[in-house]
Structures are given as structure tokens and as C-alpha cells.
Symmetry: D2
Amino acid sequence: MKNSINFDIKTPALVEQGKRRIEWAWQEMPVLHILTKRFIHQRPLKNIRISGCLHITTETANLARTLKAAGAEIVLCASNPLSTQDDVAAALVKHYKIPVYAIRSETTEQYYQHINVALDHQPVITMDDGADLVSEIHKSRPELIPEMIGGTEETTTGVIRLRAMATEGALQFPIIAVNDAMTKHLFDNRYGTGQSTLDGIIRATNVLLAGKTFTVVGYGWCGRGIAMRAKGHGAKVVVTEVDPLKALEASMDGYQVMPLIEASKISDFIITATGDKHVVDKHHMQVMKDGCILANSGHFNVEINIPALESLSMNQHRPRPSVDEYILTDGRKLRLLAEGRLVNLAAAEGHPSAVMDMSFANQVLCAVYLANLKSKGKPKLENTVHNVPSELDREVARLKLAAMAIDIDTLTPEQQHYLSSWQEGTL
Amino acid sequence: MKNSINFDIKTPALVEQGKRRIEWAWQEMPVLHILTKRFIHQRPLKNIRISGCLHITTETANLARTLKAAGAEIVLCASNPLSTQDDVAAALVKHYKIPVYAIRSETTEQYYQHINVALDHQPVITMDDGADLVSEIHKSRPELIPEMIGGTEETTTGVIRLRAMATEGALQFPIIAVNDAMTKHLFDNRYGTGQSTLDGIIRATNVLLAGKTFTVVGYGWCGRGIAMRAKGHGAKVVVTEVDPLKALEASMDGYQVMPLIEASKISDFIITATGDKHVVDKHHMQVMKDGCILANSGHFNVEINIPALESLSMNQHRPRPSVDEYILTDGRKLRLLAEGRLVNLAAAEGHPSAVMDMSFANQVLCAVYLANLKSKGKPKLENTVHNVPSELDREVARLKLAAMAIDIDTLTPEQQHYLSSWQEGTL
Amino acid sequence: MKNSINFDIKTPALVEQGKRRIEWAWQEMPVLHILTKRFIHQRPLKNIRISGCLHITTETANLARTLKAAGAEIVLCASNPLSTQDDVAAALVKHYKIPVYAIRSETTEQYYQHINVALDHQPVITMDDGADLVSEIHKSRPELIPEMIGGTEETTTGVIRLRAMATEGALQFPIIAVNDAMTKHLFDNRYGTGQSTLDGIIRATNVLLAGKTFTVVGYGWCGRGIAMRAKGHGAKVVVTEVDPLKALEASMDGYQVMPLIEASKISDFIITATGDKHVVDKHHMQVMKDGCILANSGHFNVEINIPALESLSMNQHRPRPSVDEYILTDGRKLRLLAEGRLVNLAAAEGHPSAVMDMSFANQVLCAVYLANLKSKGKPKLENTVHNVPSELDREVARLKLAAMAIDIDTLTPEQQHYLSSWQEGTL
Amino acid sequence: MKNSINFDIKTPALVEQGKRRIEWAWQEMPVLHILTKRFIHQRPLKNIRISGCLHITTETANLARTLKAAGAEIVLCASNPLSTQDDVAAALVKHYKIPVYAIRSETTEQYYQHINVALDHQPVITMDDGADLVSEIHKSRPELIPEMIGGTEETTTGVIRLRAMATEGALQFPIIAVNDAMTKHLFDNRYGTGQSTLDGIIRATNVLLAGKTFTVVGYGWCGRGIAMRAKGHGAKVVVTEVDPLKALEASMDGYQVMPLIEASKISDFIITATGDKHVVDKHHMQVMKDGCILANSGHFNVEINIPALESLSMNQHRPRPSVDEYILTDGRKLRLLAEGRLVNLAAAEGHPSAVMDMSFANQVLCAVYLANLKSKGKPKLENTVHNVPSELDREVARLKLAAMAIDIDTLTPEQQHYLSSWQEGTL
């Protein structure tokens, strides 16, 4: 199904399934509900053109619906060729009238073509999941820069790239690091990536975790979510790190900490979550146990050195849909999940809707914040990477608790005074 | 694909996929490897006709291969219409030459017809997963009884049924309760059902568990496995019980314990694992939270009173493949997974191979044990339910540890003496 | 304070403190409350002479009060020289009028002298915590045997000794293994020993557990309680075992399993809970890390080979009250807690009252059961080791739940019927 | 034992015990070892007068030894009248020649007198554990301000007070918030307070935690450490909060979150860790369960409203050394531990040495940093609250890992480049 002007998706056949799945996710996204109700009358994004380069999933569909309800003109392309859910893409186009350019398993050429079609939309706000829109604008579409109000970035990896750009003075419009919102990184990366990474591994392999040695490479928010859930499955969890603070914390959290070269010798599973390149490299593969399962939970498929794996192998086959089994020349087998792409999206369904709810509520509130800067004639933000304004972040938390029917306490005036006072002593 | 004499399966189209999946599981079943190597020359099951009414999964395929390698003449039918993996059935027939009578989603009529075809094989040993073969023999095929050496039973539910028969004096041949082997129930039900039940729920719903209230009905081995894994996912776990000892244990394990009618009001998930009927009943449904997810992990689909659910509903639809959403007349939605059938098989892939490895090693050793009774002219067992002989059980544990490359300690003669002595005092 | 007829305790000085502590414990022992209320009028133990060789703690004091309220003539001696709480002994004598023969740190000679004074009481029921009364009767006081109705035994270690006696045909009166009651061993050993062993270790050392390697020798009920709590403190827990079933279970529970000789090289703590002798032996000590902390949680102080430790040492001193630091000839230090005696009693206060409540409720109900056999003219039990009658065990569980204000469900008649029926099939 | 010039301690009688305990702690403080070795020759604190108002514990003794080895002229007074360990005070004076002014249970008058004696030392650097030195200098000893290089603050509570002072423009010399160092608050508050608070509660009460409802008031670093360890003891943990972000996080970590007034009705334990006043107040006490145990883990004894508790009570007594049992007029009993002072210090031994090692290594490095500013003629810091310089913080982490014999990975130059580069795309 192709329409050169408005969308490029795989097939409209699954459109009803796509709609049912989007509605299912909607029920787990109560903060977006509340924001939709609030903005459908105010229309704070009226006439604002937004291009989103995001994983095309049911949750992203609900983000797009909310942005559209707030008045935005939104188009979407994929931020990863393997993460597109074709039924969702179809339903977005047909039922929600949102242009989508994304086909699961599209080629590299198609992928960048779709990014460029999304940029033809002439966005004033970008939403990225890995900085590809921003990167492409700077590299190939500099004519868009003058009109840009700003962008948002959803991932750790993207924020790292964008900060590097800002440090070099290369970044030419402001970015809000939604990834760094408390209600995003404290929840999405830890609880979302934690559950969905284990889900991806189990769907891909159906292997028992209890009693197995499970190594997590990187103890950032994603890594600690993965470690926590692997422990919750009864695995013996090993953590490897390069940062002494995180290494110490992992050790005191009860995990074994050791260099990856040592962990490689004893692991049944090795999962990467670092945002860096070739963290699982040839010399690690040379000492791995027969049957070791390798997967990546970081944004790009560069964390595991796949060319090195291929160079060590004499043969490979696919015993299950998301598993490639490499037969090494010494007879050992190493199993790579989802071609080294992020396993929670490629072998499962990505983050559960409930965590994306908070992350995407930040996206919506940040888009409105950026649009308001312009519409209210305020000065543009500096061309650097900004934090989500703290009042937005706390607003998301308050809405989420309300949706969960959890009441909390409030400080009395006396207690507030005490906290801001320094004249009461020990005795 | 139908051949009235030898097999009845859905389609041969997926035969290669079935084979790949069976081989994948084989790698996680090292104890069956060892037994295959041991018995392929001894052929202790030569000329022994075995009928297995088992879930037709990759692991069962490997059990059947091992039995066949040991000389048995084995045929298989399904023990649950929804658990049959059609690709496995096809591969068993084509690649492993094992007759299978099982089609996913077969009708009740077909289901019993297949059981009867499996009985036409004139088994001398039965292998049951819910006692349907034994039950059918006693009800409709009494002519088979005189030649029966005995049977094995894989499930708690089946053992309960068979013990009831034995107590009434109705059981006419001996059964070995493989389910009660230490290396079965301590591992299979707890670690296998635990992981795969959560896997089934997550695959069916993709809902985040962290922060949700998750009620486990029944704190037997299955229930505690489910509770342990739900806690490992960050859920707040509630346990309901009828047995004061188990209730106390659940409470001291840190779970909230309360009557189900109370739990119904606060739960996001309610999972049954009791072996009993209508444990989730109409009055519970009447007080459940909007959106509550119901699933069953017990053998039969009677634990949740589905007719009651239907009677309360004005409408129902299927938002995701394994989810039926019931719209109640008061507007609340209740979501039933996998039609109330055991969710780990119907919405996921059942127990991971690694736990089935031990359970099925017990099956093989018990079949050999029964066959040896006959071939060596020993007296038949009494017509009751027997435990797995303890030496077989420990043999399975020893083989599994060896396969996991785990060494353990051994008692010195002095230590053995100390344990069996009573003359050393406190001082 | 000595009175050759009625008691032998250290000092009456702490009598009021003893009383306050006994009353404190009483509040955590609601099942004994209920039994006291029930029996104070019925007086089922009237004229029954009971000798108890038990740890003289606040909980034992409350057991003795309950027995006395039920009419028994009870005397107590210590089952371990280091576990006696002298204030409790004083209060038992003064406030509760119960004869006690126990002095903390008494000599071996005194210890056995006290046992013999307790036997001078001419008990018809014994209560043992390590079988010393029964053992002494068989060895030195056979004249008591004809009048004995029976005894009870509280510990795993004692039950092992008594079963060995029974197997040899040496046991000359019946014993009820209170230790094996579900409401005892499922709770007392796991939750009680778990918490109090960690408590003893922390009180003795004040060392941080998070991040440390903590080895549990033996994965019985005590061992798994200790492992669970050590894990709950953030330690990396290693389990060593001689039983393949328990070793497998420990592995699947997420612990590292290895031979003790390997664990010795990496452990910061090694805790024994086996009931066996010299499980931590010279060759283990030779490879331990500098600073390793050794403690025992089993009944007797033989689990760690202390003579071997001494033979390896050139020096020793006591840096904290319950710690002996051995300086080995190679310069390493090994620290032994509580002289290898059970660390939860010697360095802390033993099991929390709440678990002893259930265990001691079994003691009371078993004493009444034994007394009733005699008073109602029923035949004596066989001279072997008996289980606690299951109706008593469940009664304790029911009373405990009631005391915790926890309601549970009950089966409907239809559900009871279903469980005992075998004619309902799969479909 | 009193010497108006040099020290004021309770008794020299326990001096040898104090020394043994200080040396025991020393073994758990390997980072201080390394710093002692490094600074004993460099003497970077030569001629620097330091006054420390700190808990007088074995760990503080080792901090003082290290500072002295680095050349400092150090005097100590207590930061809490109940936390002083008199044997340690004695040993500091006698064996380590460090002036100490601290007596356990000193009066308020003595407490402030000791603070003033410590200020008579004319410090140029202060070390506070609750901001009392800084506060007293500002209130009563302004003449000291001109010579002050700066101070350090160890607690959350103190930092809150000091930030309030800085905000008001009242702070007249710079403070480094050692409390906020990553290697302090990520470890000390969470693992140290976690373990030691539970230790204090258990030593005070010997009550079983498994199966009990345990409420933690406040989910800051201390609160989450306490919650984690209470869960690790098998308790059902409830968290109360005023901050929506922390409340959400607690919920997703699997704890029940509710207002304290609801938690009060069901809790067996309520522990405060907020840094605020009267968080457990009269209306909470009015609905608490009979027997509820109350304790505080925050710095000051104001978190539980003790006057309110007294006003509700008709009687009170002390059943165990650190427990006051209040008998309310309605007959309920509430038990307050350690008079509402921080329970981990008052009823146990405070943080284990291993966590204080990192915190105190920060203290030493910060003192050297401040001294270097002066000796190297650099400008004074601004008169506000400063973070620990990040290079010092990471140095502490590196030293600690080295001491634990844990190796970690390092980035390759290629990996470092990748992290700082933005030109590599998705494909």
C-alpha cells in the first residue's frame, strides 16, 4: 500500500487489528487520556507541524492521537526498521488520519527516504527516538533550521549524541531531553525496559531463567531494570560496568560484578544496555560457553560486534523466529537474538503502555511548552540540550498517581516551615 | 492432513519449523540426552506399547523420541485442545515417525475421538496429563485393563482425580504419580509454571506488572511459583487460600493474604492455580475493578466460572489474540485470557524445556521401571497411586546437576556415621 | 543463688527484668494465650510430671507457664550452656514458681548435673531440644523408663539422633517429633532461624552484609531461611550441599551452588546449618580469605572443626564479646562467632517469640495428647519417633491465623465434591 | 573522668574495650587505610584545626585517626547525646590522644557546653552531623567566622538546614555537603541506614518481621534502604510519601503506597525517615493497632510527636532497654523505640563501618581539599553549600572497589570516541 503523498505502509489488511491494539494500549495510558481531555478544547498545538521519528507502536499511536487532539499537524516515520508494527501503521493512517512512513524490515535506503519524507513536512518541532531526525536535518536539510522551535529526544543514546553535538557547538536548535525527565528515565528505562527485555528474551527463546547465569552489561537505568527482573526470574545475575560508582552500587545491590571477559566464561545470557559500541567483542565471544544467548537492549545494534561473530562462525541458521544460531569453527554455538537490535522491541512489543504513558505525557507537555514559547512571543531556548521543566515533570507524576487511585500525604504548613528553617537544634 | 490409520494432524506445511523447534528444545533437555544414550543400546522398552495423552509440545516430542529410542511403540494424542503445537505434531509424524492425533482447536468430539484412537493402539502403559486416558479406559474401554502394566500421571489435577478413584476402589491398574516426584513438583510446577504463567499473561496483554496488584488464588507449588515471579516483576502480590498452613506460609513469605472477595476489589490481575472449580465465581466478579485481568493456570478451564462471567456481560470482543474483553452491564470491563484455559500453554509455550527435562526424565525412568516389572517377572504393583521410587527421583537430580556443571559436596564416612549415631552429646 | 532442692540459677538480681522480658514475649505468643485460656479450667495435665531440657529463654518461660496453667508439674534445665538467659531463669523461679536448673556458661559437669536433677523430678513426659534428656535416661537413668508416657523433641538434630536410636531398636519410650510438625519446621526453622541467625551475626560483628559473599552450608529449612535473609540484606549468597535435590533447588532459587572448598576461597561469611560434624574443616580453613567470619546455626558446636582452627593458629583474641579472632600462622585472620555454638541464641536472643509461639503450641498440644492417652486408658504409643497428629498441627495454624486477624477462604460443598470426584473430564 | 582542658568523657574504665572495637572497625574501613598511608608522609592537614561534632562511634574514631595522621589538630564532641559510645571516647583520649567531649546521655546543657568547648579549639574547618557546630558559630560564636576555611556536613537534615541558611543569605562560610557525595548518599543512607535501622529495631524488640506490616514514612535514600531491608525480612512493606515522584517509584518497586492515616490502622511497625517534624502525629496514634511499634531513623527526635503520645497515655513503662511502652487511655499499647531518637544509633551501633568508610573518606578528602585552597593561596569558596568535587567522589569509589578486589571494565578509545560522537546513524 503506497501513496507517494500521504503515507507509506506495508499493508492495510491488518487495519482493524491495529485499531483494536491501539485501543487496548489506550486503556493503560490514563495520563494521555487526561491530557487529551484538557487540550482538545484549548488546542495549544494548533498549526504546529511536528515530525516524529519514533518506534511505530500502539503507544506511539496514542501519543500521536493526543498531539493531534491538541491541534498539531503530525507525521510519523520509524526510528528503527525492525520495530514498526505494520497493523498500527495501517490503523494510524486509516482510522486516525495520521500520515505514517514506516514498513517493518524496510531497507536502509527506505529508512532514510522515510525520514526525509517526514522532514518534507517542514516540522517546527521534532520528536526523536535516537536523534536521527535532528542528525539528518543538520547533515542534509539545513534549510529547515531557521523555522525550528525545537525538538524532543526520547532515548539515552540520542541524548548522548545530542550533547556531543552541543558540546562541539554543532547543535543549531534547542532540544528537550525528555529521556532525562524523572517521570521518564526513572520509570520507562527501569520498569519498562526491564520487563520488556526479559519478555523479548523469553518470547525469542522460551528458555528457563531460574538457575541460569545472566550477565547485564551496563548498570544504567536500563541495565538495573534488566538486572532486577532477571533476579526476579531466579537467575544468578552478573553485572559488568566501566563506571566505578555504578559498579559499587551493583555490588551492594547483591549482584556479582566482574569484567566482561570473566563473565563471558560463565554466562548463559549476556545482555547489553550501554549505548556504546562493540561492548561484546570478539575476545569475549572466544571464551563464551557453548549455547550462550546474546541480546542487546540498547538503542543501536552496534553493542554486540556482529561482524566479529560472523568472522568466528562457519555456519548459521535460524531455529526460532528471533534467534540466529552461529556455529563457531570450534563447534560452540552462540545464539544472537533479534540480529542484535533492541530485543524488547524486535522480539516483544516494547515497553508496556503504562510506562510509555508517562514518557509520552512528557512529550505532549514539552511540545505544548515549546509551542507556547513561540505563540506567547517568549525568547527561543538556547541551542543546547535542556531538561524537562521540573513543573511539567511533577505534573506527570501527579496525574499518574491520580490515575492509579493512590493518595499520598501532604506537608502541613508547620512541616513546610520546619524544612525551610534552620533555627531548631538537636535538643 | 489426515490418514485414518496413522495420524491426524492439521497440516504438514510447518514440518520443518516444527523440527527446528524440537531440536531447539532438545538442547535444553540434557537429562533426556543422557537417557537416550543409555537406553538406545539396552532397549528396555522393546515391544512396549505406550499411549501418551500429553500436551503436544516440543518437549513432549523429545520425550517421545527418547521413549522410542528406548524401544517403545509410542502414539500421542492431545491432553488439551488448545495446547497442541501443529508444527510439532507434523514434525513428529514426518521426521520422527511417531503417530500423533492432535489438532489445535479441535472440537470436543474430535478430542475424545483422538483419545480413543490412541487407545486403539492397545497400550500397556499410559502417560496422562490430566487422567483422561485412564478415565476413558475405565469408562469406555475396560477391555484394555487386563493387559495394562500401569500408567503415569503428570499433573496435580490428574493425581487428585486418580487418588479419588483409588479411594473409591475404582482404579483398576496402578499409576505412578510422576507429578509427585521431587524432581518434578519441586521444579516443574514452581519454576516452570511460575515463569511460563507470567510469560503467558505478558504475551497476551503486554501490560506492565510493576506497581499492579496481582492476586494468586491457591498457594500450592504452582501458586507459589506464580507469586514468586509476580513479585519478581514488581507487583504487589496477594494470595488467597483455603488451607490454614499454606495461608500462614504465604503471609510469612511477605504476601498479603485475604479472602478472594476482598482481593477482588483491589486486584489488577487474578490468577487461579487450585485444581478446583469456580474458585473465581460470580460474586467475586461483581465486585472486581474495571479492567481486571483474569487467567487460569490450573489444568482445567473450570477454575474461573465463565458462564457466570457471560451472564454478567452484555457484550464481548477480542482486542488481542488471547484476550476476551467482557463488557458488563454496569459498564465495567473484565478481561479473560485464553478462554480460561491454562494460560501458560494457551498464550505462551508452556513450561520451558529445562524443567520438562526433569519431569520427562522421570516419565522415561518410570516407564522403564514398569516395563522391567513385567519383563523380569516381578509382581504387578497394587491398583493404586504410587510415588516415583526414590532412587529414580534422585538419579534425575544427579543427572541434572551434572548437566549444569554444578559440583556438590559429599559426606565423609565420619559425617555419615555422625548422622546415624546418637551417642555424641551436647558437650 | 543456689538451693539444692528447688533450683539452681545464677542470680536473683535480674528477676524483675526477667519478668518484664517474659511478659514482652508473651504479647507475641497469642496461640499460647488461647491455649492457656482453654486449659486453665480443664487442667488436662493435672498431676503430670514434665521435665524440659530446653533453651532457657523468654519463650520457653511462656511455654512453661502454659503447661503449668494446664496443670503440669514442670521443671526445666538448659539444653545448651550458653543459651540460658539468667534473668529469665530468676523470674521463672521467683514469679512463676517453676523450678529451673540452668546457669549461663555453666561447666560441662554442671550441665549434666542439672540434667540429672531435672530427671530426679521423675518425669512421665520429657521435652527435649537436642535429645539430651532422652539420651541420659537411656544411658544412666533406665529406672525412669517404665513410667514414661513419652517425650517430645524440638530440633532436627534431636530427631536425627532419636530416629537413629529407634532404627537400632534402642529407643524405649515413644517420642513425638514436634520439630517435624508443619507449623514448626515450616516456620520456626525458616523464618525464626533465618531472622535470628542474621541478627546474631550482625550483633556480634556489626559488619555490612550488602555486597559481601555469604555462604550457607546446608539448604535444609534452617539453611534456606538463612539464605533468604542474607539475600534480603543484599549479600551474594552461595549455598553448599551434599543432597542433589536440595542443591538443584538452591540453584534454581538463584543462589550460586558450589563445593565448600571453592566457596571458602571467596566467602566473607560461612554459616553452617547441617546437623553434621566438621562440615567446615581444616582444608577449608587453609584456603579461606583473610577476615572470613565463621558461625554455626546448627544445634551442636561441632559443625565447625574448632580444634583444627586452633591448630592452624598462633594466637587468638576477642575483639568483640561474641567474636574470637584467630591469627593463623600465615598471617590471615579467621573470626569465629560464639565459639561455634548456635549463633542465633548465643549472640542474639534466639527465635523471635512469634515463631516459638507455634512451635510451643505444638508442644502443649502434644503433652496434652500424651497425657490423654494415659488418662483415657488408651494404648501407649509404639517406642519409636512419631509425627505430630495432623489435627493438632492444623489447629495450631488456625489459631495463629486468627491471632493475626487474617481471614481465609473455605471450600464450598461443590468444590469439595469436585476435588474428590474423578468423573468430570477436560471438556 | 573530667579534665576541664583536654577532654570530658564518662569513664576510662572501658578504654581497652574501646580500642579493640575501634581496631575491629578499622578492618572494615580499607579506604581510610589507603588514605592514611597516602597522607601520613604528605601531612596535608598540618596545622589545620578541625572541630568535629559527630556521633562518637568506632568509625568516627577511625576518621579522627586518619585526619590526625594527615596532620590535623582535631577535637570531637557528640552530635547526639544518646549516640556516644563511652568506651570509644575513652580510647580516643587515651590511646589516640584525641580530645573528646562527649558523654552518653549527657544533659542538654552539657551537650551545648561540649559544643562550645569544641569551638574553643578555634577550628578553621568544621565537620558536622546535623549542622549544630555551624549553627552555634552563627548564633553565639561569630568571632570564629573570619578564620574559617569552611565546613563539611554529613547528614541530609543538616544539609537542608544549611541550604535554608544559604538561601536566606545567613551562611557566612562555605560548606561542602559530604552527605550529597555519590559515594556517601548512594551507599551510606541506603545500605547503611537500611541494615542498621532494622538491626536497631530487632535488637530493641526481638520481634519477628516476616508476615508483619511494616510502614516506612518517607522514600528518600534512607527510606528506600529501610524498605528494601524490611522486605528482605519478609515483611509486607507500606510506604508513605508527600512527593508524587517518590510515591510513584515506591509503588512500582512493589510497595503499597497510601496516606499515613490509612497505614496507621494496619501497621505493626511505623518507621520515620523524613527529616521533618511530627510526621507521625496525634491523629495517626489515635487509629493505630494495639501493640504498634514506632521508631525514628531521621536525624532529630521530632519526627514522632512524643508529647502527643504522652498526652494520649495514662501510663508508661520500659519492658526492654530501648522500648517505652505507652498504655493509652483506651487500653491500646504503643511502643516507642529509643525515645524517638535515631534507632540505628541508639538501639544498635549505627552504620556498619564499611559504609562509613566511604563517607569518611569523602570527609578526609574534602578537608584536604579545603586546606589546599588555603595553603595554595586559592580563592575561598563562596559562602554557600557546595557539592563534593566530582573527582574526589569518583576517587573514593575507585579505592573502595580496589579494596573489595572487584575489577571492572574500561572503555576502549574507540568506545570513548563513539560515546562522544554523533555522526554514526542507526544503520
